[in-house]
Symmetry: C2
DNA sequence: CTGGTAGTTGAAGTCAACTTCAAGTCAAGG
DNA sequence: CCTTGACTTGAAGTTGACTTCAACTACCAG
């Protein structure tokens, strides 16, 4: 046994559930790394599969690839990450999910009070309020996490 | 008083919180309609503001513009929609939000059981499971509403 | 009538996260 | 050695929801 546990891209794709193109894309972004054969083909370590599982989990939670990259970069360099390392990373997700749930619940409750009144008022309705209006209107408005929110339609002020 | 309550695009944009470009875009898609001055400029009826409020609300709930268009097309033709018409449209959103909330809660609960174990197993972890694996694995997996889910990364089978 | 603000168009650009394609090259069983 | 399937690359395409641009034209207060 020598190089037997270095996997080519097709194998990684099949076993991770990602498309080959996605795996290559992730490598280009630096989310994954691979050694190369003398002929230039990628060979991934087995631990790449766990990394990909992490990526999928993070994407399911709602992280962008940029955030995923940041998270992966915070892993200890050098050694292969342990369970504890992975667990530490995913701990912060709990809060994120809580926020999103809270936002949706608030939106639903706002909707409940809107249904039947058919208001959809531009300045009063909690559901149709643009974000900035909601912000100044205090509680009862403004809910969606950024990931879910459709912003004002105007270019973000900077 | 004759044409006084026909509003130009800038006014509509300002009062709805959408960018002018978005308003024009919506008109092109058929979500809004406008008459024209002799010089070819758009003039929107005041009721357009309510329509835009509906659009924003729908987008906040998570509808695509295509869905919004379908919803708007289901409004009674001819007469200006009443409160009741708008209210009927938004009633279905409740269910949609419930589903999304449920999905997120399930995901969070799955996460809770994953944190600390650091598993992120490709075939067992509820959070990192690709959608199809989750589907066949019965309860305990598969959660995110399509709007939130990151699919398998493979081209959708057709 | 004039100037300045507001409006017009179609085409192209943007963003994220990939996928698809073409034109090859590599790896390995027979 | 040969064939076949797996792999390589860079560039371009995809989707949705817009935005930006350039080159004009309209509207209206003074």
């Amino acid at each position: 046994m020598h190089t037997t546990d270095l996997l080519p891209v097709g194998e990684i794709a099949r076993r991770s559930g990602f498309a080959e193109s996605a795996v290559r894309y992730y490598e280009r972004l630096g989310l994954l790394s691979a050694s190369r054969t003398s002929g230039g083909q990628r060979r991934f370590e087995r631990s790449t599969l766990r990394r990909l599982a992490f990526i999928r989990a993070a994407r399911n939670i709602g992280l962008s690839l940029e955030e995923v990259a940041a998270a992966l970069n915070s892993l200890p360099a050098g050694r292969t990450p342990t369970r504890t390392d992975w667990s530490r990373l995913s701990r912060g997700w709990r809060r994120r999910l809580d926020d999103e749930i809270e936002a949706l619940v608030a939106l639903r409750d706002g909707l409940d009070s809107c249904i039947g009144c058919g208001c959809l008022s531009l300045d009063r309705c909690a559901i149709s309020n643009p974000a900035d209006a909601a912000r100044t209107d205090g509680p009862g408005a403004a809910y969606l996490p950024s990931r879910l929110r459709r912003e004002t339609g105007r270019p973000a002020e900077r």
